[in-house]
């Protein structure tokens, strides 16, 4: 069991997982998002190989309307 902090909210997952797997879990596969893991950008090319650990902090962002 691991706990992740995603966009400020704590969520539990049954086992460690890659960012690609996390995006699947969150229904975000194929969506245009950018990810920051513990303050560092994780490039899209590395999503499959970066494995998340307990207490990791993630920011998952999209583009929205703004001025």
């Amino acid at each position: 069991m691991i706990n992740l902090f995603i966009n400020g909210q704590q969520r539990q997952f049954s086992a460690t997982l890659s960012i690609t797997q996390l995006l699947q879990e969150l229904d975000l596969t194929g969506k245009r998002v950018a990810i920051e893991l513990n303050g560092e950008i994780v490039p899209r090319s590395a999503h499959a190989v970066v494995t998340l650990s307990d207490a990791d902090h993630l920011e998952i962002v999209v583009a929205v309307g703004g001025g």
Partner: protein
């Protein structure tokens, strides 16, 4: 063609528009089409986890083939938050480096915090970003931002979303006269004449969001703004007559009058 060059990229439209505060993406698209804008600002926000994954996205409504995105740092109050936001934007938009930096001072006035803005600009320029920077109408700060390497300096006309128009044309004029990079009035435009005045002063372009999006008819206002920016630009290039206080000058011949 009277085009504008920003960071080596050429644009025919001198009107830049925001994508916030519209009813829906359909209205956003219709208004932006009517404005003729080629550069559109977008905000970067946390994704709403658990929302319907089939919801349309802003980037689908405004495809990158037709528009140049200008990701912003709206809502950031520190240099660090602004830098983080734009690094996320660069990743999100596949290495896109043209960005709008704004670091705000407080949520009531949304007035720029120029100290934090200068700090963020230094870091971002060194990191390879092409920074278009929102700032106050202080000519000294504007020059410092140019010296740091910002590709465009964007002083406010008045407070963001206030629609109060150009409050200090004299400061804007000093900035326009002193800077070599494009000067773009950003924030405070309320109606078409405000945009025309900015362009008549010699601004290179105008950036607006609320004036269009919150107008009673956004599409019609977008069209008005397009014309105002073009009219103001042409008037600037044409060179206006000097103002002559208390001195009239007839437009018709003074000789050949009947009965003379």
């Amino acid at each position: 063609m009277d085009s504008i060059s920003i960071a080596g990229r050429t644009f025919n439209s001198r009107l830049l528009v925001g994508t916030g505060k519209y009813k829906d993406f359909q209205e956003t698209r219709a208004a932006i089409d009517a404005s003729g804008a080629q550069i559109v600002t977008v905000a970067i926000r946390r994704t709403n986890i658990g929302q319907d994954p089939n919801q349309p996205s802003l980037l689908d409504a405004l495809p990158s083939k037709q528009f140049t995105y200008l990701p912003n740092t709206a809502g950031c109050y520190t240099a660090e938050d602004a830098i983080r936001t734009l690094r996320l934007a660069r990743e999100l938009l596949d290495g896109h480096d043209l960005v709008k930096l704004e670091v705000l001072g407080d949520p009531q006035s949304l007035y720029p915090n120029v100290v934090e803005t200068l700090r963020a600009a230094e870091v971002l320029v060194k990191d390879g970003f092409k920074v278009m920077v929102y700032t106050s109408d202080d000519p000294i700060i504007a020059k410092q931002l140019e010296d740091i390497g910002c590709v465009a300096v964007m002083p406010l006309a008045s407070l963001i979303g206030s629609g109060m128009g150009i409050l200090n044309p004299w400061n804007l004029q000093i900035i326009i006269d002193r800077l070599k990079v494009p000067v773009i009035v950003d924030a405070g435009v309320g109606t078409a004449s405000d945009a025309a005045i900015a362009m008549e002063l010699g601004c290179d372009a105008v950036l607006m969001n609320t004036a269009i999006a919150q107008a009673h008819n956004p599409v019609l206002m977008a069209s008005a703004m397009k014309k105002a920016v073009e009219a103001g630009r042409e008037a600037f290039l044409a060179g206006r007559v000097p103002k002559k206080i208390y001195q009239a000058s007839p437009s018709s011949p003074t000789s050949g009058l009947i009965g003379s």
